[in-house]
Subunit: 629 residues, 2 copies
Amino acid sequence: MTTHEELHQWHELAQQLRVDSIRSTTIAGSGHPTSSMSPADLMAILLSKYLRYDFDHPGNPNNDRLIFSKGHAAPLLYSMYKAAGVISDEELRSLRHFGSRLEGHPTPALPWVDVATGSLGQGLAIGVGIALAGKYLDQLPYHTWVLLGDSEIAEGSIWEAFDHAAHYTLDNLIAIIDVNRLGQRGQTELGWNTQAYANRARAFGWQAIEIDGHNLTEIDQAYSAAITVNDHPTVIIARTIKGKGVTSLEDLGGWHGKALKPDAQTQAIAELGGERQMIIEVDKPEEQRQPASIGKAKALQLPTYNKGGKVATRRAYGDTLLALGAAQPNVIALDAEVSNSTYAEDFAEAYPERYFEMYIAEQQMVAAAVGLQVRKYKPFASTFAAFLTRAYDFIRMAAVSHANIKLVGSHAGVSIGQDGASQMALEDLAAFRAVWSSTVLYPSDANQTAKLVAQMSDRDGIVYLRTTRESTPVIYDPQEQFPIGGSKIIHSSHRDQATVIGAGITVHEAIKAYDRLKKEGITIRVIDAYSVKPIDVPTLHQAARDTKGNLVVVEDHWIEGGLGAAVLDSFAGTSNTPFYQGPQLRLIKLAVRDMPASGTPEELLHAAKIDADAIVEAVKSQVRQPVGV
Amino acid sequence: MTTHEELHQWHELAQQLRVDSIRSTTIAGSGHPTSSMSPADLMAILLSKYLRYDFDHPGNPNNDRLIFSKGHAAPLLYSMYKAAGVISDEELRSLRHFGSRLEGHPTPALPWVDVATGSLGQGLAIGVGIALAGKYLDQLPYHTWVLLGDSEIAEGSIWEAFDHAAHYTLDNLIAIIDVNRLGQRGQTELGWNTQAYANRARAFGWQAIEIDGHNLTEIDQAYSAAITVNDHPTVIIARTIKGKGVTSLEDLGGWHGKALKPDAQTQAIAELGGERQMIIEVDKPEEQRQPASIGKAKALQLPTYNKGGKVATRRAYGDTLLALGAAQPNVIALDAEVSNSTYAEDFAEAYPERYFEMYIAEQQMVAAAVGLQVRKYKPFASTFAAFLTRAYDFIRMAAVSHANIKLVGSHAGVSIGQDGASQMALEDLAAFRAVWSSTVLYPSDANQTAKLVAQMSDRDGIVYLRTTRESTPVIYDPQEQFPIGGSKIIHSSHRDQATVIGAGITVHEAIKAYDRLKKEGITIRVIDAYSVKPIDVPTLHQAARDTKGNLVVVEDHWIEGGLGAAVLDSFAGTSNTPFYQGPQLRLIKLAVRDMPASGTPEELLHAAKIDADAIVEAVKSQVRQPVGV
């Protein structure tokens, strides 16, 4: 039974959280006080009684996890940290200031924030990833709590999360929806119809509990029920009032994301009973166990392929993932229902306990990867490269989270052939290059793929590998090394008249072009730029100097933002480095310009003018044109 | 009552569709016969009795619409076209061949295909857009039928569509889920649990009908119920068997996306009763009405702004959208619950019948735009630019559909200030440039914005406009013209030592830098590159020639793929055009390199080194460095 004293303390804490949310936003001159006030009662009781968290050791594997999916309620989260005694009132007052850890939306600049939020609809899906780790990998009893706004329930990614959480029986995952009825610009789609939310959640296999989000006893009972249920995730659907506690703000439109002016602040704080400086003891986890052991690390035995054979790089990815699985027990694989195409299936068969089928839900797949890396696992997530575009916002936000995830896209480019444009990734290199902390790799052969996948495992940030559907010749010895940031010079002589730079499938076209041009007395340098980001600047500069500035870049990608752009970028300067010195750059970009259709890979490479024919033509046009000024 | 004769004819047609799906894929050597066989009965009855379609006039506004969201069942769709007498058996046999209109997944290369599919989970959301047009704009009684696979129901976008269809009471929308239990690599998440699908759909406000998808009478009754319901969309959840009709294929794994070998084909066709060449009469729509009139076209009166004032370009977007609304009755606006930030709200208030609130569901928003343009409307869809990344796969596919949509992203770049990185679009220019058929615009002032938005309305393809949160000086006269593909030279003289190229907010930093450098005796050219794609190549080449190759590009965007990349691209050649002739390019890219946090716009522009200080430093470093070889 809840005691009077408890109720009083919870109420006092909730009022403090409201006051602090108002104070910090008023000083900042911006932010979301009213969105922080509606779930204050919910968070006060969570912090006081249910959350198990060792604030001194955020990395303690037994800690519960708390994600503010409604990231704009950051002032509330920071006020909770103040109440827990881990940030000072002075720091609280630095909210939204340049240099402060207390950003407008939560980021891992704070050690207790695992993932950045602020793009709505992402927190629950990431919570699924953490809960998967907790239940199946760590095998520890911690809970993952996710606070959601009601507006964000309109995001499809929320329903991917509902679906997957139930499928994987994540009874360690608790969602709390703050149904304050008001979105940024007016009433939400469902308003205060908490029953509609509950019906949907139940249809998706969840335990759903409807409560008054300001009734402390109801909140207490709901949490108690949530942590005792088995085999079902729980959602608490709390009817709340935006701006709760301050009459002039309650349930009013026009107050989203607006700080109170100092006068209004004074009045509001008075109505809330004044400032408080309570510090509460947050319970540490009772369990002090280590995560379950899921195998021992062993030496990595990479697959090798015989030169002269033909192997698809996606096949080599699957083989190498399997090898990583054997060597590194913290490697986890995910796939979006195409594991027999990406070849993640071999890992899935060998290590089913470390494979999570994400079905056709790419947003959830990337979010789960982000959640898994919170618990220090190394997630490799694969699907057709074209379909990773579905998760681009999640990838963008993963970078804001400073997450370490590995993404693998197969079936890139027109060279997939008959399936047509919908299945062809032609924008993936551009999209991934424009992600902070990203590495972009694009191997041309199976041995190179193995070496690159091995390096992905230890590489921080968003690491992307693009693989090819078609079998391509094995051109490298298994002994060769392919460091990230490097490139491979396949052909080179002091008589080279031009340099052809390819990656992936176009490397093989460049090699064909080399042979043909050689017969006509034209020798070219051929560079395999398998590391698209970072790119090998010195080798490119040297090639430009050695070959009269004649560069031909050829890629199975739209003309914008891909390998050609990476090569061009390498010739741009900065305020602090000297410019490239050498002959005027005469660079031709061969890339896809027209919408492709179906056909054989050969027909489509030819039609797109990115095959050996097009390379030969481009080199000849360079050699023919006189060097200018 | 269904007659025996009808049942017989439907069965025969379904068998023909199966046989033709097998025949065409066997000739192609690839494709999805078994996924085409499971919904053959469903489609046979749709085509025979329920679809109202004038194949001679695909543009007839009274036509029903049919979308194969499970685009991989394209062989079935094409077999239906053959049965309708609009493609020949010879053309059917060209499936997946280079040059054929019958691509691996449907595209508008065929006049009866409105939108491309093949990225699963998109068809229903696009159907919502068409149904919105039908019910609220056209006000015509046609139906939109969407055939879905069961695997794709895992996509969150499906649930955005379920949600919005019910919210807008789209009783003219009928979804048919082909629950054949098997995805690409094995059993789907829900298998044959049609009740689970039905419960979810009902919780989202739909009429749900569970049937045996091979029972012709049940199918007939379900369609009949679907077209008579009021105020609810209907989903028919049909339990089917993958590969139905051929014992050696039925309900078997390992047969996804696999064509039969010729021997197996012969046997399969025999079991299906042999080849047939039935041609059926598809009913034309009974109604022959024109779409409702939604206002008369008037002369466009663009808003104007006084030079010297300060206006945010997002504000100018809102004003211009309102003006377009008054002048062009086919302009429709959509927003994802932030219309008071993007300023779409003024249009929403003035023309509520032409505004659709999409709540926080960006995928559905873009899909609805694609659906609206199918019916020849001009959709303008807006949200924070960062959140358009959520819909990147839909934008990619919109290009495959040759769709004409206008997307507007506000709050771009670090200059939004306090809200932090999650709200800052820093990859949007890169992402949109790498979309086929795209135009990318980024105005620096309010009058320029008005002129560009006016041009967007008539521009084909994916047209993207990036707006700025902060108020910025009005620097242009309302009379000035800003053609797409052009640029504006703000400062120019024959003594210019370098050229600074900016767009949007950085134009104002470039102007400040100009003033400061002038005081130090350095004159620079300043170019406002408001048209990022297509970019003004001649002006950039001329500037490079005039200013010793010294170019500084400054942008509020990651360093990859944005304005700097567009400028560099303009100096790349092709096999058919002469190279840029002029002094060696000495180009400095000033762009965002480190993850930004919160702060004032000024602090963040400075920290990112994209403000006037950074421009001054870059220009000085160019002027100081001796020109090389």
